[in-house]
C-alpha cells in the first residue's frame, strides 16, 4: 500500500482536553497530546514556566487529565526528582514522572537542574518541546534559537549569531540510558520513542521540535509540514542515543532531497525572511557538517 497508514499505531486514549489556550496550529500542544497517549493515565507532569503554563489553563482549570504540577522556570528536573522520591516513599512506584519544559527551561535556565538530576540518575522522563525561543514572553532568543533567526531580541539587523546548542550531545555526555529527538511530523516515531524510553529506568531525555506559528511566522496550517521539513532537510535529524554512545539515525521514510527541503523550510518562515542567499548557503553547510558528524557517530556505533 502506498499510503503510510498510522491509525492503528496511535493509542486512542485522550489525556488532553479541548479548550486549552495554545495558539491555532501550535506544535507544542500536539506534542503533549501525542506524548500523553503513550505515557498513559498513571503519569505526573511537572511543568516549569513556559507557553504550556498558559496552555494548561488558568486556575482552576487544567487541560490534562493527569496530575500537573506547575513550578518555577529553572526547577523542572529538581522538582521531578522530588516528586519521584515522594511517590516512591508512598509506594507508588508504578506512577511515572515526566517533566515538560520549553527550550528556555531546558537549554538555558533549567540546564543546571537537569544536569544534576541526570548525573544522579533520577528516574523520570524529561521532555523538551523546543519552539526555539522564549515564546510565552514574546519571542526572545534562547540558546536553542537557530543561527540567523529573527527574534525580538535578535532583530533582523542583528539576527541570532550563535549556533543552536547541541542539547542532545550534552545529554548523551551524561551517559543516560536514553536520549532522543522526535517530531510532531512523525507521530508513530514519537510515540514509539516514548514507549521505548518508558521501558527503561533512570533519567531519559526526549527533545521534540515543536513549530510555533506566531514565533516562527508561518501560516498555522503549515505546522506539521514544517515539522516534517525540519527532519527531511536534516535541520532536525531524528536520532536516538543509548547509554551515551550508541547513536542511531532514524531512517527516512522516503528518499527526499534534503537541499530542496531546506529551501522550503527556510522559505516558509518569516523569521528567516531577511536572510541573504549566502547566509542560507551558510545554514546549508552547517546542517550538512552536523549531519556528517552524526553519521560518523552512528557508524561508530554499528
Amino acid at each position: 500500500m502506498s499510503q503510510i497508514v498510522i491509525k492503528d499505531r496511535i493509542p486512542e486514549r485522550e489525556l488532553m482536553t479541548s479548550g486549552h489556550l495554545a495558539c491555532p496550529g501550535c506544535g507544542g500542544a500536539l506534542a503533549m497530546r501525542l506524548v500523553l497517549k503513550a505515557m498513559g493515565p498513571q503519569t505526573v507532569v511537572v511543568l516549569p514556566a513556559c507557553c504550556w503554563s498558559i496552555i494548561a489553563g488558568p486556575f482552576p482549570q487544567s487541560s490534562l487529565r493527569v496530575p500537573l504540577y506547575h513550578t518555577a522556570f529553572e526547577t523542572g528536573a529538581a522538582v521531578a526528582s522530588g516528586v519521584r522520591a515522594a511517590l516512591d516513599m508512598r509506594g507508588e512506584t508504578e506512577t511515572k514522572v515526566m517533566v515538560w519544559a520549553g527550550d528556555g527551561g531546558t537549554f538555558d535556565i533549567g540546564l543546571q537542574a537537569l544536569s544534576g538530576a541526570a548525573e544522579r540518575g533520577e528516574d523520570f522522563l524529561y521532555f523538551c518541546y523546543d519552539n526555539e525561543a522564549y515564546m510565552n514572553t514574546g519571542v526572545q532568543r534562547s540558546s536553542a534559537t537557530p543561527w540567523g533567526a529573527w527574534t525580538t531580541t535578535t532583530p533582523v539587523e542583528q539576527p541570532q549569531s550563535t549556533a543552536k546548542k547541541d542539547m542532545l550531545a550534552i545529554m548523551a555526555a551524561h551517559r543516560i540510558a536514553y536520549a532522543a529527538t522526535a517530531s510532531v511530523g512523525y507521530p508513530v516515531d514519537l510515540i514509539e520513542k516514548v514507549q521505548k524510553a518508558m521501558a527503561m529506568r533512570g533519567t531519559r531525555f526526549i527533545h521534540i521540535l515543536a513549530p510555533c506559528p506566531p514565533g516562527w511566522k508561518f501560516a498555522d496550517e503549515q505546522s506539521i509540514e514544517l515539522a516534517r521539513l525540519a527532519v527531511e532537510s536534516r535541520v532536525f535529524p531524528l536520532v536516538e542515543v543509548e547509554d551515551g554512545d550508541r547513536w542511531t539515525l532514524t531512517p527516512a521514510e522516503a528518499a527526499t532531497d534534503a537541499d530542496a527541503a531546506l529551501a522550503k523550510y527556510i522559505g516558509a518562515q518569516g523569521r528567516f525572511r531577511h536572510l541573504k542567499p549566502e547566509q542560507v548557503e551558510q545554514i546549508r553547510r552547517n546542517v550538512d557538517e552536523r549531519w556528517q558528524r552524526m553519521e560518523k557517530q552512528a557508524s561508530l556505533s554499528d
Binding site: I4, K7, S18, P24, P60, S223
Partner: protein
C-alpha cells in the same frame, strides 16, 4: 508561657488552598470562537473520474480494492461500464492523463486494473437479467460500444431493449476494425454474452434502411442510432482507383473475418491513426514489410501512444513528413507512392502543427497501399431532420432534432474512441429514460449534477440514485494535485504491462499485451491516492492539536466540534487526498 501563637485564633480559611488544585478542565473555554475560518468534510471528485469518457467511478473501485473488496470493486465498475475487459485492453485511457499520481511517480495504470476487474467479471457467473419494469420498448441500431452501452444501461433501468445489427456478429468496430492480437475474440465474445445476460436482446443480420425505418419506428417508442463510421476516406490523388490501392478498414475487416488477402512484399500504409497502426501491424503478421507514410511527425500521430510504440517495437517502418501526391504503376502493377516532402508550420485551428510542402519529393515503393486517413458515417437510413452538414446532430443527452430519435458514437461528430462511444451510449440511455418518464408525466432527477466534475461524463448510478459509495457533503469539483499531500505516500513506480514478442511464424495473432496479472494489478491499485474521497485514514484526527475531531455518531465519518476547533487548517493541509475544505461560510 501562654498558648502557642495561633491556637487561640480560629483557623482562617485561605482564599486559595496552599496548593491550587484544578477543579475543571479547559473545556469551559469555547476556544472555537477564535477562528475566522473553519474546516468542513467535503468529498470531491478525482481527476480520473472526470477524465474517463465512459463515466467510470475509478476512484471508487480503487478504494474498494484497497480494502480488499475485489468483487465489490468489480460490481461498482460494472454499474457504470458494460465492457471493462474490452477497454482494459484497447482504451486510450484519458483517465490516466489526468491522474494526480502522474505528478508524483507515474500515473496509476488504471487501464490494467480495469482489465483485471473486467476479466474477473467475465470469469464469474453472469448477472441475473434485470426484470423489465417499463413498457416502452427501445430499438438500438448498431451493436458497437455506443449501441451496447445504451442497451445495457436501459436494461438496468428496466426497459426491454432490442439491438439491431446488420452484420452476423455483434461488436461493431471492436470486431471489424480492432485486430485480434489487441482484443482476443474470446474476450469480446464473453463480454457481449455478459451484456446479453444482463437483459439485452441482440438481433444480428438486421440492416435498418430507409425502407424498414417506418416499421421500426412504429414498433418501438424510441430509436437509438449508433451505426458508426465505415466509409473510408479517399485522398483525391492520382491513381487512387488502381488495383492494389485498398481502403485500410476494408483490409482489416477481411482479415478480422478470417481472410488472408495477398499483399505482396512492401505495403505502404497512409495515415497516422489507429487504423493505420492496425493495418501496418496486421500486414506485418501476414508476412509483409509495412511502411507507414504520415505527413506530420510521430508527435502529432493521433493513434494511441502504446500502439505506436508496439508498432515500432515490432519493426514497422515509418516515413514522416511525406504526403502522397500520386500512386504509380510499373509494368501494369502498383509500384509505389509518390510523395511531397513536408515540414511543420505553426499550429492550425485544431492546435496541431500544419504540414506544408517543401518542394522536394520522394518515392515509397509498395506492392499494396492501405489508405487509413479516416472514416465517415453512412447517413442513408436517417430521417432528414437528423443529419446536418454531413453529420448527425445531437444534444447533450443524445437526442436528435427528431423527437424520441437518439444517436451517438462514431456516427455523430464525437471523438472516435471506444470510451467516448460508451459515454455516448450512457448519455443517450439517461436521455431516453428522461424523455420517456417525462412523457409518462413522472418527475425526473436534475441532470446538472450527474457529471463527474464540471466536464466529466455522467454517472448512471447517480441518475438511478443507486450510487453505493458513501459521499459526505460531496462537492462536484476536481481535486488538483496541489491538494494531495504526498508526504503521506511512499514512492512506488508504475507497473508496466507485460508484452509478448511477436511470434510471426507460430501464433502471429496471439494477444501482445498481457496486462499486469491479478497480483500486480492489485499492487497497482494500491498506488492510487484515492483523490477526494475520505478513506478514514484518521490523519486529520491524529494531527488536530485541539482534540476537536472525533468519530461521528450520526452517519458521517467524523465530527468537528466547532466549540473548540480554532480553524488552524492543519487537518485540511494534512489530509492526504483533499477531502477537507476550509471555508469562511457560516462564521
Amino acid at each position: 508561657m501562654s498558648e502557642p501563637i495561633g491556637t487561640s485564633v480560629p483557623p482562617r480559611r485561605p482564599a486559595t488552598p496552599p496548593i491550587a488544585v484544578s477543579a475543571t478542565t479547559t473545556e469551559v473555554n469555547k476556544t472555537g470562537a477564535w477562528k475566522y475560518i473553519r474546516p468542513v468534510y467535503h468529498d470531491r471528485v478525482a481527476p480520473c473520474n472526470q477524465g474517463c469518457p465512459a463515466g467510470v467511478d475509478v476512484e471508487g473501485y480503487m478504494a474498494l480494492l484497497r480494502e480488499g473488496k475485489i468483487d465489490e470493486a468489480a460490481e461498482l465498475l460494472a454499474l457504470e461500464h458494460p465492457m471493462p475487459a474490452v477497454t482494459g485492453r484497447v482504451c486510450n485511457h484519458p483517465c490516466e492523463s489526468g491522474c494526480n499520481r502522474g505528478h508524483f511517480d507515474g500515473a496509476v495504470a488504471i487501464h490494467a486494473v480495469e482489465r483485471m476487474l473486467g476479466d474477473r467479471l467475465l470469469a464469474a457467473a453472469p448477472p441475473a437479467p434485470a426484470a423489465p419494469t417499463r413498457t416502452e420498448r427501445v430499438a438500438v441500431v448498431g451493436s458497437g460500444p455506443a449501441g451496447l452501452a445504451c442497451a445495457y444501461h436501459l436494461a438496468a433501468m428496466g426497459y426491454p431493449v432490442d439491438v439491431l445489427e446488420r452484420e452476423d456478429r455483434a461488436g461493431g468496430m471492436l470486431r471489424q476494425g480492432i485486430p485480434e492480437y489487441r482484443l482476443p475474440r474470446d474476450v469480446l465474445d464473453a463480454q457481449i454474452r455478459r451484456i446479453e445476460a444482463s437483459g439485452v436482446t441482440i438481433h444480428t443480420g438486421v440492416q435498418v434502411t430507409e425502407a424498414t425505418l417506418p416499421e421500426i419506428r412504429s414498433r418501438y417508442s424510441v430509436i437509438f442510432f449508433a451505426t458508426g463510421a465505415y466509409l473510408g476516406r479517399l485522398l483525391g490523388v492520382e491513381g487512387e482507383e488502381l488495383p492494389g490501392v485498398w481502403q485500410g478498414l476494408d483490409f482489416l475487416r477481411r482479415v478480422n473475418a478470417g481472410l488472408r488477402p495477398p499483399l505482396g512484399e512492401r505495403v505502404a500504409v497512409i495515415g497516422g491513426g489507429n487504423t493505420a497502426m492496425d493495418c501496418a501491424r496486421t500486414a506485418l503478421r501476414l508476412g509483409a514489410r509495412p511502411i507507414v507514410v504520415y505527413r506530420r511527425t510521430r508527435d502529432e500521430m493521433p493513434a494511441i501512444a502504446e500502439e505506436i510504440e508496439d508498432a515500432w517495437r515490432e519493426g514497422v517502418e515509418f516515413v514522416f513528413l511525406a504526403a502522397p501526391t500520386a500512386f504509380r504503376t510499373a509494368d501494369g502493377l502498383l509500384s509505389g507512392v509518390a510523395c511531397a516532402r513536408m515540414k511543420l508550420a505553426d499550429a492550425g485551428p485544431d492546435g496541431r502543427r500544419r504540414p506544408v510542402a517543401t518542394g522536394e519529393s520522394l518515392f515509397v515503393q509498395a506492392d499494396t497501399v492501405l489508405l487509413a486517413t479516416g472514416e465517415d458515417p453512412e447517413l442513408e437510413p436517417w430521417p432528414e431532420e437528423v443529419v446536418r452538414g454531413g453529420a448527425v446532430a445531437i444534444d447533450e443527452w443524445g437526442e436528435t432534432a427528431s423527437p424520441l430519435v437518439f444517436a451517438g458514437g462514431d456516427v455523430s461528430g464525437d471523438e472516435r474512441t471506444v470510451a467516448r462511444a460508451l459515454g455516448a451510449g450512457k448519455r443517450a440511455a439517461i436521455g431516453i429514460d428522461r424523455a420517456l418518464r417525462r412523457r409518462a408525466g413522472v418527475a425526473t432527477p436534475d441532470t446538472s449534477a450527474l457529471r463527474w466534475g464540471p466536464t466529466g461524463a455522467p454517472s448512471v448510478a447517480r441518475w438511478r440514485d443507486a450510487d453505493p459509495v458513501l459521499r459526505v457533503a460531496p462537492l462536484n469539483e476536481v481535486v488538483p494535485f496541489e491538494d494531495v499531500n504526498t508526504a503521506h505516500f511512499q514512492l512506488r513506480p508504475r507497473n508496466a504491462d507485460r508484452h509478448a514478442a511477436l511470434d510471426a511464424a507460430g501464433a502471429p495473432f496471439a494477444e501482445v499485451n498481457g496486462g499486469l496479472g491479478d497480483d500486480v494489478a492489485l499492487v497497482e491499485a494500491g498506488r492510487c491516492f484515492n483523490c477526494g474521497v475520505c478513506n478514514e485514514c484518521e490523519l486529520c484526527l491524529i494531527f488536530c492539536g485541539d482534540v476537536a475531531i472525533s468519530h461521528s455518531h450520526d452517519g458521517g465519518r467524523f465530527d468537528i466540534d466547532m466549540n473548540f476547533c480554532k480553524g488552524c487548517g492543519v487537518c485540511a493541509a494534512e489530509c492526504p487526498r483533499g477531502a477537507i475544505s476550509m471555508t469562511r461560510e457560516g462564521l
